[in-house]
Subunit: 353 residues, 2 copies
């Protein structure tokens, strides 16, 4: 099976034996068919461990994961805007986290940190983060100096995309985009099986696509960005401005289904905007899958319906329905998971994947 990837049977045989001896591969199940059964190989999950930290929440989740993408242990550290304080906190929390597994400490292969903002192509420096108020912060090296472990940064949505490609539901898909709905809107593309970071690390900045030309001012400095209309933060703020305070999408959905016209209007506006942006993404990049991850509950209410409708009506009719849209409810650890995946990705595929 795996031999068709360019090598002869003999070479495979030798390589596999070496890797099994090194403890990296192991023989999994046997597949019966005609002739001698074949033995499937898989990665030995205990051969490397990774730590992931999300700087999107306070407290910041920190997880220990293995090569199967399973979470082995979890901790939290207080969020800070001071890079040195964060590096210290990670370093201090590390021993406890590693104690969850007997060999994790000696086989810790990398630390990943997910944050909202731009990361340079070395994945070592945060070029800019509005949320953290950072500019050219070499956080990866700070963490590495404190912990002695190789560390990588990544944008939140890109980290989620890598997680989905390595361990999630996009494993087999070469071209897909992740749209990650949280307080903000993130997006990242996998193209030809590789994460596409863009020329300045800014690929996927869908949140600041202009959706309503001349619309409301955005904190980024321009007007009518998708972020001002369709992010959960914007939806909640609009509901507050309309006089009914809601802390979750589900609450606004409730208001809408019980006839609150303002709530209906807000969800319509947000859903159409998000749908239009996704439709433009489909037109522009023709991905094989759009994976929408959301931390809020219900995506099957008005908001989700409008999003789907808006996608349908704004995609070339020939294509309508051709691009699968997959919705995935995720928990708040998704970014920490993604961060760990960044470290795993580097471990598996090396510096130039």
């Amino acid at each position: 099976m795996a031999q068709a990837l360019g090598l002869s049977k003999a070479a495979m045989s030798g390589l596999a034996r070496d890797l099994i001896q090194l403890g990296i591969l192991r023989e999994a199940d046997t597949i019966y068919g005609q002739g001698r059964p074949s033995i499937r190989l898989d990665l030995h999950p205990d051969c490397a461990f990774f730590v992931g930290v999300s700087l999107l929440q306070d407290p910041a989740p920190m997880i220990l994961g293995n090569l199967n993408g399973e979470i082995i242990a979890r901790a939290e550290i207080p969020l800070s805007r001071d890079p040195a304080v964060i590096a210290d906190a990670i370093s201090e929390a590390l021993p406890t986290l590693l104690s969850a597994h007997p060999v994790a400490a000696e086989k810790l292969a990398g630390i990943g940190v997910a944050l909202s903002g731009f990361v340079d192509e070395t994945r070592k420096n945060c070029v800019q983060s509005t949320l953290l108020n950072w500019q050219d912060v070499p956080l990866a090296d700070l963490v590495r100096d404190k912990t002695g472990i190789e560390t990588f940064l990544e944008n939140d949505a890109k980290a989620v995309a890598v997680d989905e490609k390595l361990f999630g539901s996009a494993r087999e898909i070469q071209n897909f985009s992740v749209v990650s709905l949280g307080d903000g809107i993130g997006c990242a593309h996998f193209i030809d099986g590789r994460l596409y970071r863009g020329n300045h690390g800014g690929a996927g900045e869908i949140a600041h696509c202009t959706i309503e030309p001349g619309g409301a001012p955005c904190r980024c400095g321009k007007r009518g960005c998708l972020d001002t209309v369709a992010s959960m933060k914007a939806i909640k703020e609009m509901s507050r401005a309309e006089g009914f305070e809601c802390v979750s999408l589900a609450e606004i959905e409730n208001q809408a289904s019980s006839g609150n016209t303002a709530a209906i209007r807000i969800l319509h506006r947000a859903g159409s905007a998000l749908g239009l942006a996704i439709a433009n993404l489909i037109q522009m990049n023709d991905p094989g899958l759009i994976l929408i991850t959301h931390v809020e509950g219900s995506f099957d209410g008005l908001f989700g319906t409008v999003v789907n409708q808006a996608i349908e009506t704004n995609v070339l009719p020939r294509y309508a329905g051709q691009t699968p849209i997959r919705i995935r409810r995720v928990d708040g650890d998704i970014w920490a998971r993604g961060a760990a995946s960044i470290a795993a990705h580097h471990f598996i595929l090396g510096p130039n994947p």
Copy 2:
């Protein structure tokens, strides 16, 4: 110099000698510095020839190109909607075209055909073309059967992008997008040094991004597509609807500069729409270059100015001006050139570039 690409000096030496003996490489100029001068190698332009045909115009241009991207000969064939007639016409025009160069006939390595529409991933079949009214037409095999030469199809904008990457001004750039303005609007992306065709071959269909939600109906079936506002065809139609007939952009620019408010309005609307679409492209994909090719004259009038303004105002301020926009005036042979480049691309890089 070139050795740093993974091989030792010794290996390079042997390989280069072999390729020179085969007539594929040749020793070009010598570069003097400290120490023994180095000899630059380049492709021998006479080692392979390619034919390119554009089905975007009537008559359809047909060119003979070499490995340097130079046009050696040119012909025209009548355009037809019947694939068999086209294959015949190409086959009949071939001998005359090849007679322009003594060794072209024996070293003809491929034929490329550029068309407006979708091409499958084998580059052999046209899945759909509105302009030609085609659906699942295996034109490449028809041409190959008639001529005996391996043939490849490609979408017009993608062919132009390949031309720019191989022989044009984007040779060194890994990530760029081409926006090709003709009667319609085409777009194609190079990502990580490879043409990105999209999951259904539809990447770059910027012309049918919704720019004016609920706007004018488009021939594609939806509303408010960029194509209905900013294509040269649309601009000319709008001018006709306003009562002044124009056959070129330059004419409308003239009208506008002499105070015709309708002309100014049309150019403003078209320019803002195109600029917004390009801005969204930049936000979405963060390319290292946007290359706008246009066959019409003047891009330095009102239209061009508005396009540039709209890009500036709709791109994340942090990015504004970070993405170079290059404008390139091209002649009507651009698509035939691109088509030849598709064949060259296949010759140089093989089936899976």
